[in-house]
Symmetry: C2
């Protein structure tokens, strides 16, 4: 059945090697691990709020296991300074992430975006000198819950080949767009690579062939060998349309202060374009119209065998409360590794 959810989502059974733990237990486990890596109390709270939310929304791999990735990143071992605003106007701000992990930097960037939009009905806020920001829908939901429409994009290190290219020149460059609605936030959250980079590395690790048409080898030839793809690159999704979108997002990253080159490595940039829908239509009317549009899309006659047309983000939010009660599924070896940090 077609699904709008990413393939890694919704692991709700407890296969061998996994265990179900309560939210309190997961929180305590995460707090201890993050504190041992060297994060202060506020950073621990910020990072963990997202990691737990990711699990609740059905994305276990972007939850507690990410603490291990943070711990292993060379950037985490480098010195960091507090996130600070280095340029601002009433409607805009540029934040220097001070080599803080993106979970912290982008959280603070979203807070500035909300604050400025509350004062001016619009804001554009960027951040750089940061890494690993996690699940973009988490930030976008906060901005939407403050009553705003927001477009959040992030650019990163080159992993994606341009059309016709044999080497990466673009990040996986996700976009995340959120709208308030009478039925709760509607959030579209997507990368622009044909396959998530983490999935490619996982395929290489377990020697599993890639699907057709997602990667090229070091010579630019199509490959299904994930190890070869690590030497070549991933394609943009959706041919020239996806390539164009990725180019646009990489360019918007420059507005966030992503350095074009550190050596020859493009750096991360995080951008929020945020506005009050009331600039154009009464906000309540817009919220009603968004809900009605989603219901109209869901009510479309379906293909044979399809039991539901799903709006992006709908299932994640619908099932969050249930997981809050039932707990989340974590691999035992992740738990062990977190305790050993």
């Amino acid at each position: 059945m077609p699904s709008t959810d990413s393939p890694e989502s919704f692991l709700d059974d407890t296969p061998p090697g996994t265990t179900r733990i309560g939210i309190d237990e997961a929180t305590e486990l995460g707090e201890k691990a993050l504190t041992r890596i060297g994060f202060d109390k506020e950073d621990v709270r910020i990072i963990l709020d997202q990691l737990i939310d990711n699990a609740l929304c059905g994305y276990p791999f972007t939850s507690l296991p990410r603490i291990l990735a943070i711990a292993n990143s060379p950037k985490t071992k480098n010195p960091r300074k507090p996130v600070r605003v280095i340029h601002e106007t009433p409607v805009s701000a540029m934040l220097d992430g001070g080599n803080n992990v993106g979970y912290v930097t982008v959280y603070k960037t979203a807070e500035v975006a909300i604050e400025k939009a509350k004062n001016s009905q619009f804001s554009i806020v960027g951040a750089h000198d940061s890494y690993f920001s996690g699940r973009n829908a988490y930030y976008v939901e906060k901005v939407v819950n403050a009553g705003f429409v927001t477009i959040h994009v992030a650019c990163g290190q080159p992993l994606v080949v341009p059309l016709g290219g044999a080497r990466p020149a673009l990040g996986t460059n996700p976009f995340c767009i959120g709208f308030p609605s009478a039925d709760g936030p509607v959030i579209i959250d997507s990368g622009t690579a044909a396959m998530q980079w983490g999935e490619v590395t996982l395929h290489a690790h377990i020697d599993k062939p890639l699907p057709e048409g997602v990667a090229v080898d070091r010579n630019g030839a199509p490959t299904r060998d994930a190890k070869e793809a690590l030497l070549g690159g991933v394609l943009p999704f959706g041919g020239h349309k996806g390539f164009g979108l990725s180019v646009a997002i990489q360019t918007m990253g420059l507005l966030a202060g992503a350095q074009l080159a550190r050596g020859d490595v493009q750096d991360y940039g995080f951008l929020f374009i945020t506005f009050d829908p009331g600039l154009l239509v009464p906000a309540d009317q817009f919220a009603d119209q968004v809900a009605a549009l989603m219901n109209a899309i869901k009510a479309t006659p379906r293909q044979p065998g399809v039991d539901e047309i799903r709006i992006p983000s709908e299932r994640a939010f619908r099932e969050r409360d249930r997981r809050r009660r039932e707990g989340i599924v974590v691999e035992q070896k992740v738990i062990d590794a977190l305790k050993a940090l």
Copy 2:
């Protein structure tokens, strides 16, 4: 060779049945035809400026032949009122298109977007009650030439099926994003349908099979029969990522005042989100960085047999001056039909 250009572009030879005419001659032909359909002098100038530019940029099918489509649209025969602003703030405006053709309405919408952004470094401007806006890059180039970054989206009547659907619920919902650069505007212009609707109807007309994976029949089953696709719908490009983007653009169309339902037909909405890059980084520095990024992408090692990595819009703008000198290619039967209007 992979190309970032749409398949209908760059018809520069003169196959049987076509003729090459100078820009002056094309302009005169278009002026007379548009005047006979009932457009006043200002509207004729606005419409024709785009139609000629489309031909110059290498898109002959979105040039003079569109006058025939305008003439044949029932909306063109309905009464129209001047485009007017029905709601505004210092940074925003909502325009009622008054049933004017989109070529006129969106031109005026872009003008308001530029004017407001000049005063406030930001603007968000929407328009509705209009139809047929043509080539989005035309408008976006004007906004970019005024020094701004702009995101232009348009939603339209349902032609695209949601994932899992057997009937259309989304428009072909294009996005167009433009950036100033030291080497001239960089513009990404793309629909979110797997195939342009005009191409599907053309395939149906000449009984040519569709490519795999672009359409479903009236039961929602995949089809390569274009006539069946007219009863079912076109798929979004790029699977769930393209579906999500199309949903986002349809939702943004509500901000432009697209009525959710007239009967059960979603209406057109046109939106510009425009800002001064100087809100975040010095505008000159940004223009240099955009140019450097495009050069870095172009300099990527290439796949075997690929002679150039092409940035969206680059070829169109590069070749515009040449066509201005050499003239444009028009089908003789289009010329005859325009003269017969």
